[in-house]
């Protein structure tokens, strides 16, 4: 499908059309997902959908779009949209607790803007390390690149992509029949344990999600470690713990698996994630040094190919975000200058570690352990702020926006690498537009509060309620610090094994519900078997487009349902 005729002039990349389209589409997704997320409890990145919309407008209407220009569209759109999750997980909790009036709206904006800046600036050196040197897979980024390259990839790849999209969208639509008032035909998950007559304390349920299966198909071998860790967690630890009588006597039957997950393996998993990523950071230091040197020396390239954002942006971004955090902490918390400085300093350092962790996890598997990290963030921040809940939640929003932004930016940069986008250009547009998302999300949250209230039947805001429970648990001293510590030690040791990111991968497998590990693991197994039998080329030419289609189809339907919810057509 290479187009006939040669085009003259500069290769279109950052153009007014790309910026306007990216901001408008990102704002549309941000508003939709903010509202829908507060009702349904989840959001979506939307990069792939933005890429498809980009093709429709740039090529379909304007007749002049290019692959790298569309890459800019999806980069901006997802940057504007992604901060939604960081905001709706935290800020509505302040409304629910009636604490939002204690803080001027300007500080809401400053806190989330600081997060948006930090999330992006921290990934400048990490981009080189994770994408160019460690070669992490970033399944969503890979899928989006497949979508972007479709017009030039040939009819066969385009056909496979669209088949994948159609099948995935159709299955998701049929699964949502009950929401539409129609009879259930395909459930959202199957209880394989019941089918196989296994004891009810063995959790063997599998989500029927082609998107998750597609993520596994793209991930391949790395994901097998997640599957193995899931088996360890659910089918080795759970029976042994039960057999050893380590469970409270009132926990029986189907409750066993849930108890072990909530009180034992999940906190262990969070600890492993942290320990594993800290070990990864230590082990990667030489590589990060190489990455930083490479960025610094990019300007010396004789060919005029300075394609890296200068390192001064990193320093300036950190300084600005640090100053914002310091002002917020000092003004709102009424803490001493020393304590405010410490809070801002630890906050920035923690955001770096958390951004690294989230970027590593999404790079290796596509899963992002945001809720677990939020728990740790709240724990650290409550201690630092002398248990001031409003300030803690506000700074929690900073962390949430930063880490979700870092993961998204890294996915976008992976896409950029695969289509030949210039990193500095992507980073610049992201820095210039990422602050728009928090304003939209904060405005929508405030409008919802005025119209319906938050934390009720109409707007349950499940994620914010979860954060409120976390804060209550921490204030009540009910935090499994010993599990975090034990998991951290094990995760640290695992990551020293020489298998890159092993501690993070095993931690992630203990942190995730088996419901999603199974379809994901199945995708990884299929990838590995096909690679052995049909070779690397088959994976690139056939499997990748289908897998990308499976991810994009379900993601598109998620957005559609979010929009229908906002319009009041659906009442989930």
């Amino acid at each position: 499908m290479v187009e006939a005729g040669s085009r003259k002039g500069t290769y279109r990349e950052i153009t007014p059309a790309a910026i306007v389209l990216g901001v408008l589409w990102g704002a549309f997704m941000a508003a939709s997902f903010t509202y829908a997320g507060m009702i349904m409890g989840f959001t979506s990145g939307g990069s792939a959908i933005a890429a498809i919309v980009g093709w429709g407008v740039l090529r379909g209407i304007l007749k002049k779009g290019t692959i790298v220009e569309n890459n800019i569209v999806q980069t901006i759109a997802s940057a504007v949209n992604i901060s939604v999750s960081g905001v709706i997980f935290t800020i509505p909790a302040l409304y629910i607790m009636g604490l939002h009036k204690e803080i001027n709206m300007l500080y809401f904006f400053l806190a989330t803007a600081a997060g948006a800046i930090l999330g992006i600036t921290f990934i400048i050196p990490l981009r080189k390390q994770m994408i160019e040197i460690d070669r992490l897979r970033f399944p969503t980024g890979t899928a989006v690149a497949t979508v972007l390259k479709t017009p030039g990839s040939g009819i066969e790849k385009a056909r496979l992509l669209f088949i994948g999209m159609a099948v995935s969208a159709l299955i998701y639509l049929v699964q949502q029949f009950p929401v539409l008032g129609l009879p259930e035909i395909i459930p959202e998950y199957v209880d394989l344990g019941a089918v196989l007559h296994l004891p009810e304390w063995i959790d063997f349920s599998m989500a029927l999600s082609l998107m998750v299966f597609g993520m596994g198909l793209i991930t391949g071998r790395n994901g097998l470690i997640v599957l193995a860790g899931g088996i360890l967690s659910y089918y080795i630890i759970t029976p042994i713990v039960k057999a050893l009588g380590w469970l409270p006597s009132d926990v029986t039957g189907a409750a066993v698996s849930g108890f072990v997950y909530s009180n034992m393996t999940r906190p262990l998993g969070i600890g492993m994630l942290l320990g594993g990523s800290i070990a990864g950071l230590i082990l990667s230091m030489p590589v990060i040094v190489v990455a930083l040197r490479s960025i610094a020396s990019a300007s010396k390239l004789g060919t005029g190919r300075n394609e890296e954002l200068p390192i001064k942006y990193l320093y300036a971004g950190i300084a600005l975000a640090f100053a914002l955090l310091l002002i917020i902490t000092y003004q709102i918390g009424g803490l001493s200058l020393g304590r405010s400085l410490l809070t801002a300093l630890v906050g920035v350092a923690w955001i770096f570690v958390a951004s690294l962790l989230v970027a590593m996890a999404t790079g290796m598997t596509d899963w992002s352990p945001v809720s677990g990290l939020s728990l740790v963030s709240v724990m650290i921040l409550l201690y630092l702020t002398n248990k001031q809940v409003p300030l803690t939640i506000l700074l929690g929003a900073t962390v949430g926006v930063a880490i979700s932004g870092a993961a998204d930016m890294m996915q976008d940069l992976k896409t950029g690498h695969l289509v030949g986008g210039i990193p500095s250009r992507q980073q610049k547009v992201e820095l210039l537009t990422a602050w728009i998302g928090p304003i939209i999300a904060l405005t929508v949250v405030d409008l919802i509060w005025r119209a319906y209230g938050i934390g009720n039947e109409t707007v349950p805001a499940p994620q914010a309620m979860a954060l409120k429970s976390m804060v209550d648990a921490i204030l009540g001293g009910n935090v499994p610090v010993d599990k975090f510590l034990a998991g951290g030690i094990l995760g640290f040791a695992l990551s020293m094994s020489g298998i890159p990111g092993l501690g993070v991968l095993v931690g992630l497998s203990m942190y995730l519900p088996m419901l999603y590990i199974l379809p994901y693991g199945l995708g990884c197994v299929v990838h590995d078997v096909l690679k052995r039998k049909r070779g690397h080329e088959f994976i690139t030419e056939k499997v990748l487009p289908v897998a990308a289609g499976l991810m994009v189809g379900e993601a598109a339907m998620t957005l559609l349902f979010a929009v229908l919810t906002v319009m009041g057509v659906l009442h989930p």
């Binding site: 085009r7 070669r135 630890i237």
Partner: protein, 172 residues
């Protein structure tokens, strides 16, 4: 799989299982965690040694390591040389194959980490810059921007040659 690495993997897995079970108890059984760490430590030592020996053996026999990486890069470079002035449609098809070959290079270069992260990081840094340039060349050709495509094809070619020199300088 080499015996040392196999034993290392078994010990690492066993240590993890023991460690995870003992850590799962409320409160954790710290003595069990300590024992598991010792087992994991021995496992890590053996698997790292085994991996290093495996890499050196592969390099000596020519079935992996530097010789294989050299061959992959040399082939990719000669393919690019042939399409430098070829028509656009032909370049896109051939570049697709070159990029797949480069993915294989990246995968097979992973064990070089054992030889030192700085060296590995330097090689992959140059290689990835070239790979990204070739990806951009592919996009530009596919979009019909031939001038940009040829410019980045040249950049990618130069970076791959630089990578080849760096690989040949290795002592594996």
């Amino acid at each position: 799989m080499e015996m040392k690495k196999l034993v290392g993997n078994v010990l690492l897995t066993a240590g993890l299982i023991v460690g995870a079970i003992t850590a799962a108890r409320i409160p954790p059984m710290w003595s069990g965690v300590a024992v598991s760490l010792a087992i994991m430590g021995v496992g890590i030592f053996l698997r790292r040694q085994g991996e290093k020996e495996e890499l050196h053996r592969a390099a000596e026999s020519g079935t992996g390591g530097v010789k294989e990486l050299d061959a992959l890069l040399t082939d990719a470079i000669s393919r690019i040389e042939k399409i430098m002035d070829a028509p656009r449609e032909e370049v896109v098809g051939e570049l697709t194959k070159v990029l797949e070959e480069l993915e294989e290079f990246a995968e097979k270069a992973q064990p070089l980490r054992i030889e030192g992260l700085m060296t590995y990081g330097n090689i992959m840094s140059i290689f990835s810059r070239g790979e990204r340039a070739l990806n951009r060349a592919w996009s530009a050709f596919a979009d019909g921007y031939e001038e940009e495509g040829r410019k980045y094809l040249r950049y990618g070619y130069e970076d791959l040659k630089e990578t080849l020199s760096a690989v040949r300088a290795l002592k594996v």
